[in-house]
C-alpha cells in the first residue's frame, strides 16, 4: 500500500496584466506530475532550480494552492476543496536553517510549537518531550533555553528535525535539507537522518538538486525538468542506466573524486553535451517540455516521444 500518491498534480501561478489586471497567462511551475511513495523508503525529487521540485513538495505539504490533480495520503484525499489540509502525519524540513527557525523564540518554544498545537501537555510533560527530542537529534537538554542564533547551521538543522519529528509523522518532506550547510557537516547530518529514518520508521520525500547527495540517500528518484517528470526509477536505474538525455547529462555532471578518471570524465561529458545539443528535439516537444512518461521496466519510466 502506498503512503503518498500524487496524481496529475498541477500548480500554476497566474501572470496578471492588462488594464484590468486580469489573468493573462500562467507560469506552469508544476505541470502534471505523478508519483507514488512507499512506506519506509526515501524518494528523491531532483531537478535544477525552477524545475518545480520545491513547488511539488510544498504542494504536498499544503503550502501552495494546487491548480489541478489529487494528492492521496494513504487512502485520504488531501486536497478536498482547493486547499490541501495540513496533516500532522506529514512534516517538512526546510532548506535554510537560519530563516526556518523564528529568531525571537527559544528552542523549547520552537520545538514545542507543534506539540502545543496538537497535544495538550502540561509544562513538565512538554519539557520532557522536548528534552527527549533534543537528545534524539543529538543536542543537549541545556539547548532548550537558548535562541537559534546561538547555534551553528548543522545544529539548527537538527533543531528543525527535532521539531519535525515531534508529532511522530509518517512522511517528512526535506527541501534541500543540507544545501545550506558546509560540506563537512552535510554528510554528518545526512547520516544522522538516515539513522533516524530507521529508528522511527520514517518515509522521506527528499528534494535536492545535488545528485551525489541523492544517490547517497534515496531508494527511488524522480527527475524533473520545467515542471514535468523526465524520468523516474530506482537509484540504480537512474545512475547506471539513464534513458533520457537530460538525466544522462545530470549524471555525467557528477564530479568524480578520483583524479585518475579525470580525462575520461571530461571526454564523457563532452560527448553527452554534444548528444544533448544534437538530440534535444528528440526528447522535448516544441515548447521545450518533456513528453509523457513511458514505462520501460516495472520501476523505470522515461519521458520519450511516441516513436513511429
Amino acid at each position: 500500500m502506498t503512503l503518498l500518491k500524487v496524481e496529475d498534480l498541477k500548480v500554476h501561478f497566474p501572470i496578471r496584466g492588462g488594464i484590468l489586471n486580469r489573468k493573462i497567462d500562467a507560469i506552469r511551475a508544476v505541470d502534471g506530475v505523478n508519483f507514488e511513495i512507499e512506506p519506509g523508503e526515501t524518494y528523491g525529487l531532483v531537478g535544477e532550480s525552477g524545475s518545480g521540485k520545491t513547488t511539488t513538495g510544498k504542494a504536498v505539504m499544503g503550502l501552495n494552492n494546487i491548480t489541478n490533480g489529487e494528492i492521496y495520503f494513504g487512502d485520504e484525499l488531501l486536497n478536498k476543496g482547493n486547499k490541501v489540509n495540513i496533516r500532522k502525519d506529514i512534516q517538512m524540513i526546510f532548506q535554510d536553517p537560519y530563516s526556518s527557525l523564528n529568531p525571537r523564540k527559544r528552542v523549547i518554544d520552537i520545538i514545542a510549537e507543534p506539540l502545543r498545537n496538537y497535544e495538550n501537555l502540561s509544562k513538565d510533560e512538554e519539557k520532557k518531550r522536548v528534552k527527549d527530542l533534543l537528545e534524539k537529534v543529538g543536542l543537549t537538554a541545556e539547548s532548550m533555553l537558548k535562541y537559534p542564533h546561538e547555534f551553528s547551521g548543522g545544529q539548527r538543522q537538527r533543531i528543525g528535525v527535532a521539531r519535525a519529528i515531534a508529532l511522530e509523522p509518517k512522511l517528512i518532506i526535506m527541501d534541500e535539507p543540507v544545501s545550506a550547510l558546509d560540506v563537512s557537516v552535510q554528510a554528518q547530518v545526512l547520516n544522522f537522518m538516515q539513522d533516524l529514518q530507521k529508528e522511527l520508521n520514517l518515509t522521506y520525500l527528499f528534494i535536492s538538486h545535488d545528485l551525489s547527495v541523492v544517490k547517497h540517500m534515496c531508494d527511488r528518484i524522480g527527475i524533473m525538468y520545467n515542471g514535468r517528470y523526465v524520468e523516474e526509477g530506482t537509484t540504480k536505474e537512474i545512475f547506471n542506466d539513464p534513458q533520457h538525455i537530460y538525466t544522462k547529462r545530470l549524471v555525467a555532471a557528477i564530479p568524480d573524486i578520483d583524479p585518475k578518471n579525470r580525462k575520461e570524465n571530461t571526454n564523457f561529458r563532452e560527448q553527452v553535451k554534444e548528444e544533448y545539443t544534437n538530440s534535444y528535439y528528440d526528447y522535448f516537444d516544441e515548447d521545450g517540455l518533456a513528453y509523457q512518461l513511458k514505462p520501460i521496466t516495472d520501476t523505470h519510466r522515461v519521458a520519450l516521444p511516441e516513436r513511429g
Binding site: I15, G17, I19, L20, N21
Partner: protein, 320 residues
C-alpha cells in the same frame, strides 16, 4: 506605460466616488446650514424655511447627492450659497492663490533643500554638516503653525519687513509689474514658512542618500578613473540622488495642502485653506464638498505623477 496610467486612473475613480460620498454624508450630519447665519430680527423664519425647501436643504443626503452628481455630469459643481456664485469660479479664484503659494513654497523647498542636502552630504561630519543637521533636527520637531506664527510676529510685526495679510496690495493694476511684485511680497513670508519646515525631509533624504552613494562601487570606480571631485558629484552622485526626490514631489502635495491650511489662516492669505475653514463655519456645503474632493483628487494625481516619474526613473518598479 499608458496601460499603467490608465489602470491607475481606473483604480482611483472608485476612490474619488467614495471620497465624495463620505464628504456628502459627513456634511449632511453637520449641525446648521447655510441659512443659519441669516438669523436675525430682520429676517422672517418663514422666509428661511421657504428657502430651505427651495434650495433642497431639507432633502435627505442621497437625493442631494444624486442632484449633485447630476450637476457634475453637466459640468457644474453647484453654487455657493454664501458667495452666490458658481463653486468652480469661486474655487478657481482661491486655488490660483493657493497655487502661487504652493509654487513659491515648492521653489523654496528645493532651493533651500538641495544645496543644504548636498553640502551636508558632501561634507558630512564637518561643522557645516552639523549646523545643517541641527537645523533639520529642529525643523522636524517644529509644528508649522508655531513656526508660521513666530515668523509673522518677528518679520511681519516687529521688523515690519513683510505685509501681515492678504495676497496683493489693493489698488494695484492687475497685470502690471507692481502687481506681480506685490504678489511676490505677500507670498514670501508664508512661502518661506512652509518651505523652511517642509524642506527638512528633503535635506535629510539627500544627505543620507549622498553619503550612501559616496561609498558605492561605481563612485569609487569613477574616482579611481581620475574623475574630478566636482564631476563625481555633479554627474554621478547628484544625478543618482536627485531623481527620487523629484519623484517624491507628488506625494508631497498632500502635505503641502495641510501646510497651507495653517499658513493661510495665520497670514490671512485668501486661499483654499481659508476658504475651507470659512465654508465649514458658514456651512457652505457645496464649497466644502468641492474643496475636499478637489484636494483628494490633487493628492491622487500627485501620487500618480510620482509613480510615473518613479517608474521612469527606476525600471524595477515599472509593471507589465
Amino acid at each position: 506605460m499608458w496601460k499603467f496610467i490608465v489602470r491607475r486612473l481606473l483604480i482611483t475613480s472608485p476612490q474619488i466616488i467614495f471620497l465624495s460620498l463620505l464628504v456628502f454624508v459627513l456634511a449632511s450630519f453637520m449641525p446648521g446650514d447655510a441659512l443659519t447665519g441669516a438669523i436675525g430680527p430682520d429676517v422672517k423664519a418663514e422666509r428661511l424655511a421657504e428657502l430651505r425647501e427651495e434650495l433642497g436643504f431639507n432633502d435627505p443626503w442621497y437625493i442631494q447627492y444624486k442632484d449633485w452628481v447630476a450637476g457634475i455630469l453637466q459640468g457644474s459643481l453647484g453654487e455657493s450659497f454664501q458667495y452666490k456664485m458658481d463653486v468652480e469660479d469661486l474655487i478657481w479664484q482661491r486655488v490660483i492663490n493657493t497655487f502661487w503659494l504652493s509654487l513659491v513654497s515648492v521653489i523654496f523647498i528645493y532651493a533651500i533643500g538641495l544645496p543644504l542636502g548636498i553640502l551636508s552630504g558632501r561634507y558630512n561630519d564637518t561643522l557645516l554638516d552639523q549646523l545643517i543637521t541641527g537645523y533639520t533636527y529642529i525643523g522636524f520637531a517644529t509644528p508649522i503653525f508655531i513656526f508660521g506664527l513666530v515668523a509673522l510676529w518677528i518679520f511681519g510685526y516687529i521688523l515690519g519687513w513683510f505685509p501681515t495679510g492678504g495676497s496683493v496690495d489693493p489698488g494695484v493694476e492687475s497685470g502690471s509689474i507692481e502687481y506681480i511684485l506685490s504678489k511676490l511680497q505677500h507670498l514670501l513670508l508664508p512661502g518661506l514658512s512652509i518651505a523652511l519646515i517642509g524642506t527638512v525631509s528633503t535635506v535629510q533624504y539627500l544627505r543620507s542618500e549622498i553619503i550612501d552613494t559616496k561609498q558605492k562601487d561605481f563612485i569609487l570606480t569613477a574616482r579611481a578613473k581620475g574623475a574630478s571631485e566636482r564631476r563625481v558629484y555633479n554627474r554621478h552622485i547628484f544625478r543618482n540622488s536627485i531623481l527620487p526626490i523629484a519623484a517624491f514631489f507628488g506625494y508631497e502635495i498632500i502635505n503641502l495642502i495641510n501646510g497651507t491650511i495653517f499658513i493661510e489662516q495665520i497670514f490671512s492669505y485668501p486661499g483654499m485653506g481659508q476658504l475651507f475653514l470659512d465654508s465649514i463655519v458658514i456651512r457652505d456645503y457645496t464649497v466644502v464638498t468641492a474643496l475636499v474632493l478637489l484636494t483628494g483628487i490633487g493628492a491622487i494625481v500627485g501620487a500618480l505623477l510620482s509613480d510615473i516619474i518613479l517608474s521612469l526613473v527606476d525600471p524595477r518598479i515599472r509593471i507589465k
